[in-house]
Symmetry: C2
Subunit: 313 residues, 2 copies
């Protein structure tokens, strides 16, 4: 039983900050263009250089993301952000054309392991969603756009419960074939547990390199950090998170936020693993956006950190 699994671990991890898109999209109050820009610049300053910045979806559908084009016009002119990967979520060919017009260089596409979830979310079956992705990625690839692939409901679906690992593998195969550089395995409703995480990674590791996989956990039930730890112990080195644990309301089931970037910082920093993050600057970015949203963050570490900063020394 006794075995210390911390002896031979990777020296660093990549953290993909999804607060400005996945986080804000699930917040009720609309954030101004100016504040979105400032938030992204503060995140970048903190050492986060892969940031999901916005999406190119119908404004009607997601009002919070209706300024994607405008935002990107500002972002691409900002000299601090020249070498930062600014990712835009793109659902279809129309979105891809808008993204190209705005000067986007990095996109993310998405589908789900659940037909029911895809139907409710994007009114398409899994197969139909893959056709949309194929169509938009033809344009993306022709324009040398880098593409990340999201797969939702990998660990459970609100409508179908557990979804099929074979279906997951099939989607992952198709996305690899289309040319995505990595897939992000989404625990959309925050239902994953460490044992299941180990099983999914072990299953996929038979057919995919571990650095093709990224993990995307929501902290609905308090297991996100444990799930990240288990993924890391299994060899995964790429993780999605949002500053301050943005996203969703902590009181609404299935709507809890992404695991907080601060929590990942603290987990990895305590293990001696490099994240590239300056925690003081990250806490400034999170404090800024939480103040704009007039809400509390979801990260215990951030609370403890801010409390230690405000205490007399």
């Amino acid at each position: 039983m006794l075995s210390n699994s911390f002896l031979n671990l990777p020296k660093k991890v990549r953290i993909v900050e999804v607060g400005p898109r996945d986080g804000l999209q699930n917040e009720k109050s609309i954030v101004s263009l100016e504040n979105k820009l400032k938030f992204i610049k503060l995140l970048n300053l903190s050492g986060l250089h892969e940031i999901e910045a916005t999406s190119f979806v119908r404004a009607q559908k997601i009002p919070q993301m209706s300024d994607g084009g405008e935002l990107f016009n500002l972002l691409k002119k900002d000299s601090d952000l020249l070498t930062t990967r600014l990712i835009s979520l793109v659902p279809n060919l129309i979105g891809m054309e808008a993204a190209l017009n705005a000067g986007v260089r990095d996109i993310a596409v998405f589908t789900s392991t659940s037909n029911s979830f895809n139907k409710k979310n994007i009114n398409a079956s899994i197969d139909e969603s893959m056709l949309r992705i194929k169509e938009l990625m033809a344009l993306a690839n022709a324009n040398k756009i880098s593409t990340r692939g999201y797969i939702s409901t990998v660990f459970g679906c609100p409508y179908e419960g557990k979804t099929s690992l074979d279906q997951l593998k099939k989607i992952a195969d198709q996305l690899l074939e289309l040319g995505v550089y990595e897939i992000s395995l989404g625990d959309t409703i925050g239902i994953a547990n460490p044992k299941q995480v180990a099983e999914v990674i072990e299953f996929l590791s038979k057919d995919f390199k571990l650095d093709f996989l990224s993990m995307h956990f929501h902290d609905t039930r308090g297991l996100a950090v444990a799930n990240v730890l288990t993924s890391f112990e299994m060899g995964i080195t790429s993780f999605d998170s949002s500053a301050g644990g943005l996203g969703g309301c902590p009181y609404a089931l299935g709507a809890s936020g992404n695991v907080a970037t601060e929590d990942l910082y603290y987990l990895f920093d305590s293990l001696g693993i490099e994240t590239g993050i300056d925690i003081e600057k990250l806490s400034a970015a999170s404090s800024f956006i939480l103040k704009v949203l007039n809400r509390e963050g979801q990260s215990k570490f951030l609370k403890a950190y801010l409390s230690s900063k405000s205490s007399p020394s």
Copy 2:
């Protein structure tokens, strides 16, 4: 790198509920005798049969625990609690005499790996505290009282930083020699990380059986569940926690609560490990005491669980 560590794990764990003592002691509002009794009865009903119920300390020092004798007089008459291990914290011979008079059958003693912490906490050096324990345990052993040993600041001290592993081993040796049935390794200020947890357990495993060790984490910085998971993977099967994550204020550094019993329930339940807990009854116990204290719980799982119960199905 890739290895699934969830294949050969123990089938069940013991959870020692410390909410009525460690939890309530760190809450500002004084809870009535009647409500303490009801809380303990609800916890017991939920399947928690090792409960730290009170302490026998000077009333002046810890007003919340000034009714230990009265409480125990009620507890020992309660037929539901006859087979439940009701633990009382006892600091010295005077406390031991009071505990014996009240009919206590199970006690806990405590010291710390830090001289500075012990001095501030109980005005005694480590060696002096061990003398007090030796003296009170002579009386306890003569009366066939079972004794649990707490060791505080194992993972870090607010005054001394990291404390010595050799000092830890020395204290553990002395407690074993005096006849405690297990020691609880306290992360008093919630500073432990999974790597350090693995190192401490590995260190102690050279001289002690793993079932002599229990882990006591506070969730100050959000790593408690990950620390529990790592401990469990190392072979530890006994954990302290408090219902609802009682204890301390989430905004005061170093005063955060114990890891929530609900979070341990959910972690282990999701891994298929038996805790003996009925989560509906545990959530009733936590909801009761949180309402009495007029505060929110600290467990994300409890929030998600209560939210799912109140949603229309």
